[in-house]
Subunit: 217 residues, 2 copies
């Protein structure tokens, strides 16, 4: 098993799981029922032994000489990733990015149900994005408690991120998906997953200027 010193499954293994899940979904769409770890390796760029090791952390899935049943592995990985449940979700920041997330049908299909968007701009409060209402951010805390919200998304400008994180924390949010270019501080029992788009773009521009360091990743 690929465990770190505290006996946790390592973050690099965990971050590969959604990739495997995505590739398997693609195979399913193409009607492929069965795949060897060698073929999965060609597809994903990870070595066959890496793939076997990764999956062994969660129980053996493949069969010697047969490979993996695509649908079964896809479903198992979905379960490991917690995609067999529904998560009540809210988004603070109803700009383009907040709307993009609330509109993306793939997230809802995977169980992430956006109940409401929140904003502080009176001009947008009361509007609907598809059928999702934009509410006043002052109502955020009560809404979270009344609707058993587990996941809170932050798509506000940087300067509001910590205040929103505080409201999330005080009202029992379990996980925060943060898009604001700021590091938010919350208690250790709250999961924080950051998406810092600038960091991705700046990595791209680093490689553009230092091609010799570029590796497909």
């Amino acid at each position: 098993m690929d465990l770190d010193k505290d006996n946790k499954i390592s973050i690099t293994v965990i971050r590969r799981l959604p990739k495997y899940h995505r590739y398997l979904g693609e195979l399913l769409r193409r009607g492929i029922n069965r795949i060897s770890s060698k073929e999965l390796s060609d597809l994903t760029g990870f070595t066959a032994s890496q793939i076997r090791q990764d999956l062994n952390n969660f129980g053996g899935f493949g069969q010697q000489g047969y490979g993996y049943n695509v649908e079964e592995l896809y479903n198992q990985l979905g379960k490991i990733l917690g995609l067999n449940k529904v998560y009540n979700t809210v988004i603070v920041g109803s700009g383009n990015l907040g709307q993009a997330i609330s509109n993306y049908s793939g997230f809802e299909e995977a169980g992430f149900k956006v109940l409401s968007l929140f904003d502080k701009n009176p001009k947008v409060i009361g509007l609907k994005i598809r059928d999702i209402e934009i509410r006043d951010v002052d109502e955020l805390g009560d809404f979270i408690k009344e609707n058993d919200v587990e996941i809170g998304v932050i798509t506000t400008p940087r300067e509001y991120a910590q205040d929103i994180a505080d409201v999330y924390m005080e009202n029992g949010i379990k996980a925060i998906w943060n898009f604001a270019p700021a590091d938010i501080k919350v208690s250790d029992d709250i999961i924080v997953e950051n998406v810092h788009l600038s960091e991705s773009l700046f990595t791209l521009s680093y490689f553009l200027n230092n091609k010799e360091d570029y590796v497909k990743n």
Copy 2:
């Protein structure tokens, strides 16, 4: 130096550079002029020795007993990341995500100049997002060549991603920032940086269901 087997600076070091840059920008905004690697360590969560090692890959910046000059290091890192230049950029897919990127002033300030959005939907072609026109995707190739476009963003649904990547490649784009949940295939001399939002969200839900594996990252 932290080089991999081909003598490249390793991707994990490179991905920390934009983080350092972001933290230093934050310090600058707070009016802090000087910082020790110990303080930078407390701030970023990386060890002081890690930080020194990372920065040593690009020349020594700190001074024994003094630490780092915040503004100088910020500017040097900006230069290493290629943020001292202007990159002509286009975005294909004028939905919420494409608009979010074209509207984000931080990208333009860092040198990424969005010249045009492209779409295939006749209802939006000709519209303007702020002052940026949405053009017909059929004009993409010519536009790239006529305007020395270096960076192409993909914010289309999955099924169009490879077609757009092909047009980018055929017309001399140097780097692709891909948000579509698909792996695009291009020749090795083109930099590809992927942002797969689903993978981030599914990692969050993994941790929500496996709190014992969660490490702040």
